[in-house]
């Protein structure tokens, strides 16, 4: 879907982005992760030509974006900014309607689409008439998301979209973000410096440093097969919680015995959930179990806390020897 080839950006002598290549598949969620100044935002902005590269190409659906008119290109790419960038002199409705207006949609179509979106994003009709300054930070960010999604672009670029929010609001929005069906149809590139966020939301993570990609892989690959010391040190501090979050219950399937508990075992979870989610459901009473449904194998297993931990340990052992 998106191919980035040998992309470079130099500001004077500073190499902000230094020979970067990666691919993003359709409906994939790629995270550009790194500390500030690592070139992740510059990379993102070269994809909708907010910044023109010094060298290299970006292909979208195998078409070179440098051959397209930037305005037309951008109308087909949703963009969400850290500080939302809503127009303070436009109402919420007008803000969301900017791109439809540029594309000359008729009014009815725009209105229908807006009311569809605000429902999905938990905004109220009254808020449509408000100005952005009258909304809370979380609401503003939702409006920013609605604005980016309104014409249903196939691609979404997000620059630290949740960076300005407090922890509680951010956690809520993360949950909504993952649940939003609109986003499941999108190819997303998201920039963040928040490791937890990257592991929670990303299908793949590009860890960047000093304008280069250090490692590009799935969360599990980064955790268990770090390319070098930089990667493992970068993740060190939050390693355990990251591991619990990124290892899925399905990954442990072979070490979970098909134990059938007498009562069919507590809460039922999908095997696609992370180990962390599984752990959260234990109430720590005797005979406390959860049941896990694996659709792939069409099989349900019921597990206790100790067994889960032991399976996780064995999984890690195996990863280390691979």
């Amino acid at each position: 879907m998106i191919k980035v080839q040998q992309l470079r950006k130099h500001f004077g002598k500073v190499k902000a982005v230094d020979d970067i290549s990666f691919e993003v598949k359709e409906h994939e969620n790629l995270i550009l992760l790194g500390t500030s100044g690592c070139g992740k935002t510059t990379t993102l902005k070269m994809i909708n030509r907010l910044i023109e590269p010094s060298a290299g190409n970006v292909l979208i659906d195998n078409k070179n974006i440098s051959e397209q008119q930037p305005e037309i290109l951008r109308r087909g790419i949703g963009y969400v900014l850290q500080n939302h960038g809503l127009f303070p002199h436009y109402t919420v409705a007008e803000n969301i309607a900017i791109v439809p207006q540029l594309l000359q949609w008729d009014k009815k179509r725009t209105e229908r689409r807006i009311s569809e979106l605000i429902e999905k994003l938990h905004l109220t009709k009254d808020q449509l008439r408000a100005y952005p300054g009258e909304l809370s930070g979380g609401q503003q960010q939702r409006v920013g998301l609605a604005r980016a999604l309104v014409v249903d672009p196939p691609i979404l670029l997000m620059d630290e979209p949740f960076g300005a929010l407090d922890n509680v609001t951010r956690a809520n929005i993360h949950a909504e973000f993952k649940a939003l069906d609109e986003l499941k149809r999108k190819t997303i590139i998201m920039v963040t410096h928040d490791v937890q966020e990257a592991f929670e939301l990303g299908d793949r993570i590009c860890l960047m440093d000093k304008g280069k990609i250090v490692q590009n892989g799935t969360p599990a690959e980064l955790l268990f097969h770090p390319e070098n010391n930089f990667v493992s040190e970068f993740l060190q501090e939050q390693r355990l919680s990251l591991e619990f979050k990124s290892v899925r219950l399905a990954d442990l399937w072979q070490w979970l015995s098909p134990q059938l508990s007498p009562n069919g075992g507590g809460v039922q979870l999908s095997a696609d959930s992370g180990v962390w989610a599984g752990m959260e459901h234990f109430k720590f009473k005797s005979d406390d179990t959860i049941s896990i449904l694996n659709r792939e194998h069409n099989e349900t297993k019921s597990v206790g806390f100790e067994q889960l931990m032991s399976a996780f340990y064995q999984y890690k052992q195996q990863q280390a020897h691979e």
């Binding site: 951008r74 109308r75 900014l81 850290q82 960038g85 809503l86 540029l102 604005r147």
Partner: protein, 523 residues
Amino acid sequence: MNEQQQTLWEFMRQQSGKLLEQTVQHIGLTFISLFIAVLIGLPLGIFISRRKKFSGAVLGVAGILQTIPSIALLGFMIPLLGIGPRPAIVALLLYALLPIIRNTFTGITGVDVTVKEAAIAMGMSKWQVLSKVELPLAMPVIFAGIRTATVINVGVATLASYIAAGGLGEFIFGGISLNNTNMILAGAIPAALLAILFDFLLSRLQKLNIKKLKAVTVALPLLLIVLSSFYLLPSAYGTKLKAGFTPEFMGRRDGNLGLQSKYGLKISTVVISDAVMYKAAFEKQLDVISGYSTDGRLKAYDLVVLKDDKNIFPPYFAAPIIQENSLKKFAGLEKILNLLAKRINDSTMTALNYKTDYLHQSPEKVAKDFLVAQKLWKPAQTGGEGMVRIGSKIFGEQYILANIYSMLIKGYSHYDVATKTGLGGTKICFDALTNDQIDFYPEYTGTGLLAILQSPAKVVDSLTASPRATYNYVQDAFEKKYNIKWLKPIGFNNAYALMMRRGQAEKLKIKTISDLKRYLESR
């Protein structure tokens, strides 16, 4: 006080036609220049917000323009654009430029970067980003600039009357020259009210919420055009020759009023400062002007004085007038000042004026050369016995006289001298004298008679023919009324005179004011 207000009100009612005309001209001048300034300043401000490397230069130049004193700027305009509304509008618009450019620049560069980035990222073209995001968001700041420019323009537009562009300055400067408080107030109060009114209206605009601002953005240019067109309404009515009279001359019985009543002279007239009047006549922008008979520029620009065959211009013999108290305080001063009595006749004074006005010699040099030639010059002695304060009005002849007196006092006494030259018109000078801000200044008998004493017509008519009688009358009246003494006349008579270019006067065979009237009435 109540009486004063009454008479002000009466004056305004009496002059309501003129007042309305001047107000309309004033509004027109203000807004036509403001409109053009917006047309230039807004795009320029936008341009430098795009190309920041030009911003320093553009803002610098606009800033320098703003620091040029308004009168000087108007003066610069005359060789380029002549007199009348055009140079005035250009000068005003130059003043209005800085606040407009600067605020446009500040407003646009102050727009939140993320908002701009969002606009671009959504696929807005440069033009759309400007018109839908940057300008609307910068509008409050831009409005503040326009507001500043408006208030500046209302103020500076009063000076437009110096170069025959009309406006409320005609009353203000006429009033200052004529010592007529009502006339000053009749110009100054409406000007101040205009400034307050426009400032208020624009502040209301500024406070409107962003939504309504969209409508205003359309309405404002229209409003500006309508207000600008005010100026075009009182368009020219013409006679064969065009006259330029000073504001002072316009309002005086021995000036334009006398010309109308005694000669029945009807000539299309503009009001103009005497600083530029002679040059305008020389450059054929004006045909007849109200000059002073000893003015150096008479010689410089080859103008001729039309004979006052009906004696409407009273004699204007110059003499120092001095506070009685100062005479007591500075012993021997009277004698020193009288050294100059009868030393300067009309042609000598014209020649001295010519040296400063046209040969651009400094008044000090001219004064010293004169004293040396007259064998009156003595090197300055040590001071320390007290400070004599000399005043002068704001024209060349008075500067020379002030310098001569200063040198005489320093040479013949041990007094120190402070000169306060350039004290505007008669009113300012005379007020300075009566309020003990200065000790003496050279005044003219005619001015004393008419502008200061405001003598009734009957008295004036009885005196006009005789210089001696006029001098005696004012000397007497000043003594009684103000405790101010007229010293001996210096000798020259700097009377009002109508003048024309020599060539034109000879061609049209105009030698007297009656000839001028006949020519104007002929077909």
